[in-house]
């Protein structure tokens, strides 16, 4: 007779838990759907107030399902998910531009019970023709300003001769070619590990063209071991073209511009071997470099070569400064080709670049002053610069 009495509270507890777990969660509230701004289209931003049952003790809400339909009364299909705690999501699957969509959020509880929100919509996703984010507007202002300045200097260069400060590293390029010619030893030119789309590699191509033209004139051997296959084909064409320009196509040796390997350390091993065997008089390292920069430069030093380097990689720049005779720092790599060409328009672009630096230096000083000055004065007088510099 005692057994039913013991079972009674257990049965009651089971029924209580079962009944609680089966209670569907409270749906999300205030669902809003808007077309995602500044995108290519096909996206809708959804925001909502989360279900208060995310934190309930029994069967809490564990996630949300995003449902969409072409009409409010048609069947809603799932197009995405969001985890518990989320209050927004960008729906991007299965949405087409120019068609209206309605949205619902389904809140899921741990026991698979769920509740759906009110319907939001209709929203018609569409692409934007202009990115209206403030950061982009700032970039446009900067770009127009800097580009305009460089273009102005290019235009001005056609009218009068412009003075360009001497750049030791670039002046050393001619010295390096002359040294190799006098010593009767080859020149080694390395375009780095970057691909042909990198600005540093493009700058290296331009310098290679000018170096090749001089080596053709002086009949000095030019060795160009390449890392990247596309860069290799371009280098071949540049050197071949330069020898043709110099009127010495017969001096071009296609075996001296060659592909080595598309892998960092095997490439270093091969180039270091070439340096130690061929003992080049001058080594050029222009382009993008990584960990191999110091290995190459130190081996070149051991081989007794004069070394000229330039890269846009900050860390590697310090290695080159230590190990090479001349290093093109920062924008000097990009100015090298224009500097060597002596063409007025190209020189004008360097002038514009230099003036750009002066303006940036001035703005940096204004920025520092604005931070140091009194709060009120800063807001009123320097607020514009502060916003511009700090992206506020």
């Amino acid at each position: 007779m005692r057994k039913p009495l013991i079972l009674f509270p257990l049965v009651f507890l089971f029924l209580f838990v079962f009944a609680s777990a089966q209670t569907p969660p409270t749906p999300v509230d205030s669902l809003q759907a808007v077309d995602t701004p500044d995108d290519a289209g096909g996206q809708v931003d959804l925001t909502w107030k989360p279900s208060p049952d995310e934190g309930r003790a029994v069967s809490p809400v564990i996630g949300y399902q995003i449902l969409a339909a072409p009409a409010a009364d048609s069947t809603f299909v799932p197009i995405g998910t969001a985890s518990a705690g989320a209050t927004s999501v960008t729906a991007k699957d299965r949405l087409e531009n120019g068609r209206p969509y309605y949205f619902k959020i389904r809140a899921y509880a741990m026991d698979s019970s769920y509740a759906e929100s009110e319907v939001a919509g209709p929203v018609v996703p569409k692409g934007s023709w202009w990115n209206t984010k403030p950061a982009y507007l700032r970039i446009v202002i900067w770009m127009v300003f800097v580009v305009g300045f460089i273009l102005y200097n290019i235009r001005k260069a056609g009218k009068k001769e412009l003075y360009i400060r001497p750049i030791a590293g670039i002046d050393a390029i001619d010295e390096g070619i002359g040294r190799a010619t006098e010593m009767g030893r080859p020149i080694l030119f390395i375009c780095g590990l970057g691909d042909a789309a990198q600005a540093a590699t493009l700058a290296a191509f331009s310098v290679l063209g000018r170096v090749a033209q001089k080596t053709a004139q002086y009949q000095t051997r030019l060795i160009v071991p390449c890392y990247e296959p596309i860069v290799f084909t371009i280098c071949q064409d540049i050197v071949k073209g330069a020898y043709l320009n110099a009127g010495r196509p017969e001096a071009y040796n296609e075996k001296d511009v060659f592909f080595v390997v598309y892998d960092q350390f095997p490439y270093v091993a091969a180039v270091n071997g070439i340096m130690l065997r061929e003992k080049p008089a001058t080594n050029f390292y222009l382009g993008q470099f990584y960990a191999e920069s110091l290995m190459l430069a130190e081996t070149g030093f051991e081989a007794g070569s004069i070394q000229i380097a330039g890269t846009d990689q900050l860390i590697q720049m310090s290695f080159f400064i230590v190990a090479c005779d001349f290093t093109l720092i920062g924008e000097e790599l990009f100015a090298a080709s224009a500097y060597l060409s002596k063409e007025p328009e190209q020189v004008g672009s360097i002038k514009g670049q230099d003036w750009g630096k002066v303006i940036f230096a001035g703005l940096s000083i204004l920025g520092v002053v604005s931070v140091l000055l009194d709060e009120n004065l800063r807001v009123h007088f320097f607020g514009f610069f502060r916003k511009l510099m700090l992206n506020e």
């Binding site: 970039i139 493009l202 063209g209 290799f232 540049i238 071997g273 900050l314």
Partner: protein, 232 residues
């Protein structure tokens, strides 16, 4: 004319399109980056064959003419053949899983346990790591030359290097523990890293950004032509 004008025209048009693409999220501009990336991959696939053929040609020529260092070319040819055979033909001597055709099996040459995988882990990887490890010695020899106090700048570099090195290891604070609080060697090292170094790096970065803009403009406007090779 065609050889120079057409590439210049393509460079200008593509350069300009990619500049405005940054500000226009709408199609067809939006997909341009993906499309160009696919094109580059296709071109690269062809270019890598050109590269391989060039490497083989140069190496075989060296061996044939017994030029200086032809033995290294022999190593290149041998390695190339060994890894290619292991990659392409390993199903010929390795156990094929049940239900797999040779073609299906061949596609999985990168999986653990294959000959290609063996070459990668037991030949390529140790050799590559060895090369990387030599960097430590190169750093030591470069530091030895750079840290000689021959001028004021070199002395400054030596002192900074000294402070940063001691500030980065626990023994630094033990040796210089007598310094007042806030002036410990690690504090000074942090300051060197966070203030003068960052200031210098940012100045260089601004210069690089301006240089890239200037170079791009010269290319887009067709002022820079040295990369196009021959003039006709």
């Amino acid at each position: 004319m065609m050889r120079r004008e057409i590439p210049l025209f393509i460079t200008s048009v593509v350069g300009f399109i990619f500049v405005i693409r940054f500000f226009i999220p709408h199609e067809p501009f939006y997909s341009l980056e993906d499309v160009s990336s696919s094109w580059i991959q296709v071109i690269q696939a062809f270019a890598i064959w050109l590269g391989i053929l060039n490497l083989l040609k140069v190496s075989l020529d060296k061996i044939y003419k017994k030029e200086r260092g032809w033995g290294y070319s022999g190593v290149i040819i041998f390695s190339f053949l060994a890894i290619s055979i292991a990659g392409f033909f390993f199903p010929l001597w390795e156990e094929r899983p049940a239900g797999y055709s040779y073609l299906q099996h061949a596609r999985e040459f990168l999986k653990p346990g294959t000959s290609f995988d063996w070459f990668y882990w037991y030949v390529y990887s140790p050799l590559s790591s060895t090369m990387f490890a030599t960097l430590a010695f190169f750093i030591a020899s470069a530091s030895f030359r750079a840290f000689r106090a021959r001028s004021f700048q070199a002395t400054l570099l030596l002192l900074s290097g000294f402070v940063v090195m001691f500030g980065s290891v626990p023994v630094g604070n033990v040796l210089f523990g007598w310094l007042p609080a806030g002036w410990q060697v690690s504090d000074i090292a942090d300051w060197v890293r966070n203030v003068p170094q960052v200031a210098g790096q940012r100045a260089i970065q601004i210069g690089i950004a301006l240089g890239i803009i200037s170079t791009s403009l010269r290319l887009i406007l067709g002022l820079e032509r040295a990369h196009l090779g021959r003039e006709e």
